[in-house]
């Protein structure tokens, strides 16, 4: 497992996937409205999160959960919640 915080790991994936600056990736930033993502980006982001956090979330992120992940903060709290349980 990585030493980096969940926040940093989430941020890194978003920066790579969406080609945005790190400064834009604030907890409140919405993928669709602020970070210029389209629906295909969202699917790819979720798959990237599943890969990076496979130890924490144990399995795939169900569709019913992934549609609620609209901001950077949503993702961070979702992964924290999953890894605590």
């Amino acid at each position: 497992m990585s030493d980096k915080s969940i926040e940093d790991r989430v941020k890194e994936i978003i920066v790579n996937q969406l080609n945005v600056n790190e400064e834009q990736v604030t907890p409140e930033a919405s993928f669709l409205d602020d970070l210029g993502a389209d629906s295909l980006d969202l699917v790819e982001l979720v798959m990237a999160f599943e890969e990076e956090f496979k130890d924490e979330i144990q399995g795939e992120i169900p569709e019913s959960d992934s549609e609620k992940l609209q901001t950077v903060g949503d993702v961070v709290s979702y992964i924290k919640e999953k890894s605590a349980s």
């Binding site: 389209d38 295909l40 790819e44 798959m47």
Partner: protein, 248 residues
């Protein structure tokens, strides 16, 4: 016109013989590295060997294209070796002809699975790195039968028409990533598949072809090679009939 292929890698299913082999050879002649896929090791092996002995670059991969798990494992392995497949040609196909009233579930499902579901398995398997690269070509080989129908081929016609619908939806999903997805629909082409037809059927078939002859595998591979090139980047979601004018 000179076609541009810049260090590209292609995967062609059903590359052991017929149209698929011609496509593999044509792409290889343009300097593309070709992964030749077929069910039997000897079939794809000899296709790859023929390309290499002509100075091209190719490798063989034996997979049953209708086996979802096998295709997904093959893609995973390939993407470890190559990082990215740039050009996917879904060409593998079988026929199990029978009038509808006599067709078994097995005949139906086998043809749907090998001809149509295989497109879904391969496209899904190679798409992620393609979207990251923001460049790709997916070419699905359908048939005139998918457009105008043919008695005795409800299974084949359904699968081939299904490929056209699959292509259009896929083209719309991935257009923003610089990936095009098109269909080539051959008519009667001189291959092992049509060699099985008896002379009466061949004569009758020729009557309904406006150009009055069967096509050659090169007629198809020329079109596929163009669609795979850099130059065809503004064409997506289309079906190209190469059938001597049968469907118009």
């Amino acid at each position: 016109m000179k076609l541009t292929f810049d260090n590209k890698i292609a995967l062609v299913t059903g590359a052991g013989r017929g149209i698929g082999r011609a496509i593999a050879e044509s792409l290889a002649a343009e300097g593309v590295h070709v992964i030749c896929v077929s069910r039997s090791e000897s079939s794809c092996g000899s296709a790859a060997e023929a390309i290499r002995s002509n100075g091209g670059s190719a490798e063989a991969l034996a997979v049953d294209v209708g086996d979802s798990a096998a295709v997904s494992a093959a893609c995973e392995k390939l993407l470890k070796e190559h990082e990215n497949i740039d050009i996917l040609v879904n060409n593998a196909g079988i026929t199990k002809d029978m009038l509808l009233l006599r067709m078994t579930d097995e005949d139906w499902l086998d043809v749907i699975n090998t001809n149509l579901s295989s497109c879904f398995y391969w496209t899904k398997g190679i798409l992620r790195p393609m979207t990251r690269k923001r460049w790709g070509r997916i070419i699905n080989i359908s048939s005139v039968v998918g457009i105008i129908g043919n008695p005795g081929q409800t299974n084949y016609g359904a699968a081939k028409a299904g490929m056209i619908g699959f292509t259009k939806s896929t083209a719309r999903e991935i257009a923003s990533r610089g990936i095009t997805c098109n269909v080539v629909a051959p008519g009667f082409i001189e291959t092992d598949m049509t060699a099985e037809l008896n002379d009466t059927i061949k004569t009758e078939a020729t009557k309904v072809i406006p150009l009055k002859r069967f096509g050659q595998v090169a007629d198809i591979s020329n079109m596929v090679t163009y669609l795979a090139s850099e130059e065809a980047g503004y064409i997506t979601g289309q079906t190209f009939s190469v059938d001597g004018g049968m469907a118009m």
